[in-house]
C-alpha cells in the first residue's frame, strides 16, 4: 500500500503552533497533530474523511494545549 493525498500545514491553537500531517492509507485518513518546535505528538486520529480526522486531532490538541501554563520569566 502507498500513502495518498498527503498534506501538512501549521495552524495556531490557543496561541500555540500545531503541525498537522494528514494522508490516506487503505481508504482511511490518518491525521497526526504535534507541537511544532519540540515536535512531540499531541494527537493521532484515524477517520473516514480528512475533515473528520483533522477536526478530531485539533480538538484533542486544543484540550492538551489548554493545560499548558505560562509562567513569568522575570
Amino acid at each position: 500500500m502507498k500513502p495518498e493525498d498527503y498534506s501538512e500545514r501549521t495552524v495556531e491553537v490557543d496561541g500555540w503552533p500545531v503541525h498537522l500531517v494528514t494522508y490516506r492509507l487503505e481508504g482511511k485518513y490518518h491525521c497526526k497533530a504535534d507541537n511544532v518546535s519540540p515536535g512531540a505528538n499531541l494527537a493521532r486520529i484515524v477517520a473516514d474523511t480528512r475533515e473528520e480526522a483533522e477536526d478530531k486531532a485539533l480538538a484533542r490538541a486544543k484540550e492538551l494545549l489548554g493545560r499548558t501554563r505560562r509562567h513569568p520569566v522575570q
Partner: protein, 289 residues
C-alpha cells in the same frame, strides 16, 4: 550528504527502499509516537519502543549492556549488521537509538535522512504486518559503554561553573526562558523553569529542513557557529529528558565532525528538579529565538 564530516551515517529513502531486505541490513523504526509503526511502515522494518525497549525501565538510565545485547540479538542484529534507523518527528528518537548504539560500540549504524515524514510524503510503499525479526545466529556482543559520548550531572555542574564548555540547550525558546515547564501540551516534569547558566538555545528542529532532511553543512555551521560551537571547545547538549539532545549530538558529532560532544541525558528533568541548582531565566546571550 557528501559534504558532511561522516556522510556514511546517512542513507536516503531510495537507498533504504532498495536495501531494506538485504541479509546484512536491518531497518528499525523508532518513533516519538510508538503507535505510528502499526499504521504502516517501511516494508521489512521492525520497531523499537523508546519508552520500554530503549531504556532501563527500573532505574532511570539507558539500556544496561546485557539488555542492549538481548535487544540486538532478538532483533536479528549481529555485530556486523548494517542498521538503518528512522522515525517520526525528523528522526528525533531514531537519533536516541543511534546514540545508544554508538555507546555500545555498534560500528555500522545509519539514519534514513528525512525519516518517516519523507517516506510518507514521497508516497512510498508501506506495510502493516510486523516484520519477523529472526534472532541472530550468534549472541550479540556489545562493547563496554563509551562514556565519552555521555555527560553526567557532576561534569555538567563543573562545566557550567568553569565556563569552559559550550552548553547547548536544544529545547524550545519558551522552555529555555522558563515560560513553560514542558513542551506545549505535555505534563510539567520539573519544579523550576529556565536553563543551565551559560547555556545557548538552539532548538533541535532547526537542524532540519521542512522535508525532515538535515540542513546542509554550511547551514549547520552557521546555525551552531552563532552559539560558539566551533570545535575548539567541548560541547554538552541537553534538553528535557535527553532525546532531543541526542539528535543535536548526532548533528554536531557526525555531520559537523565536532569530536568532543556529549549528550547530557539527565537534562532538565534532572537539573530543574535539583535542590540548590542554579537556574537562569529569560533569554541568554547568544540565544536563538
Amino acid at each position: 550528504m557528501t559534504q558532511y564530516a561522516h556522510p556514511e551515517v546517512l542513507v536516503n529513502t531510495s537507498w533504504t527502499a532498495e536495501h531494506a531486505h538485504d541479509n546484512n541490513v536491518r531497518v528499525v523504526e523508532v518513533d516519538v509516537d510508538t503507535k505510528a509503526y502499526d499504521e504502516g511502515h517501511v516494508p521489512g522494518a521492525i520497531a523499537w519502543a523508546w519508552n520500554t525497549q530503549l531504556c532501563d525501565t527500573t532505574v532511570r538510565d539507558i539500556l544496561p549492556k546485557s539488555q542492549f545485547e538481548k535487544l540486538m540479538t532478538d532483533s536479528g542484529i549481529a555485530n556486523d549488521t548494517t542498521v538503518v534507523l528512522y522515525g517520526d518527528s525528523n528522526n528525533w528518537f531514531a537519533a536516541w537509538a543511534f546514540w545508544q548504539m554508538k555507546i555500545y560500540g555498534h560500528n555500522d549504524v545509519r539514519i534514513m535522512d528525512g525519516g518517516r515524514k519523507k517516506w510518507l510524503s514521497e508516497q512510498r510503499d508501506m506495510e502493516t504486518t510486523s516484520a519477523q525479526a529472526h534472532p541472530a545466529a550468534a549472541p550479540y556482543k556489545a562493547s563496554d559503554p563509551d562514556l565519552s559520548l555521555r555527560a553526567f550531572l557532576p561534569q555538567v555542574q563543573a562545566a557550567s561553573k568553569a565556563g569552559n564548555v559550550v552548553m547547548i540547550d536544544v529545547r524550545s525558546p519558551q522552555e529555555f526562558t522558563g515560560e513553560i515547564l514542558a513542551p506545549p501540551g505535555l505534563p510539567e516534569t520539573c519544579q523550576r523553569g529556565g536553563h543551565i547558566p551559560g547555556a545557548h538555545n538552539v532548538p533541535w528542529g532547526k537542524a532540519c529542513n521542512d522535508d525532515g532532511t538535515f540542513k546542509s553543512l554550511d547551514e549547520l555551521k552557521q546555525l551552531y557557529g552563532g552559539s560558539g560551537v566551533t570545535g575548539a571547545e567541548p560541547v554538552i547538549a541537553y534538553c528535557r529528558i535527553g532525546e532531543r539532545s541526542s539528535h543535536t549530538w548526532f548533528v554536531l558529532k557526525y555531520l559537523l565532525g565536532i569530536d568532543k560532544v556529549t549528550n547530557y541525558d539527565g537534562s532538565w528533568t534532572e537539573w530543574g528538579n535539583l535542590v540548590g541548582a542554579p537556574v537562569e531565566k529569560g533569554s541568554a546571550k547568544g540565544a536563538q529565538a
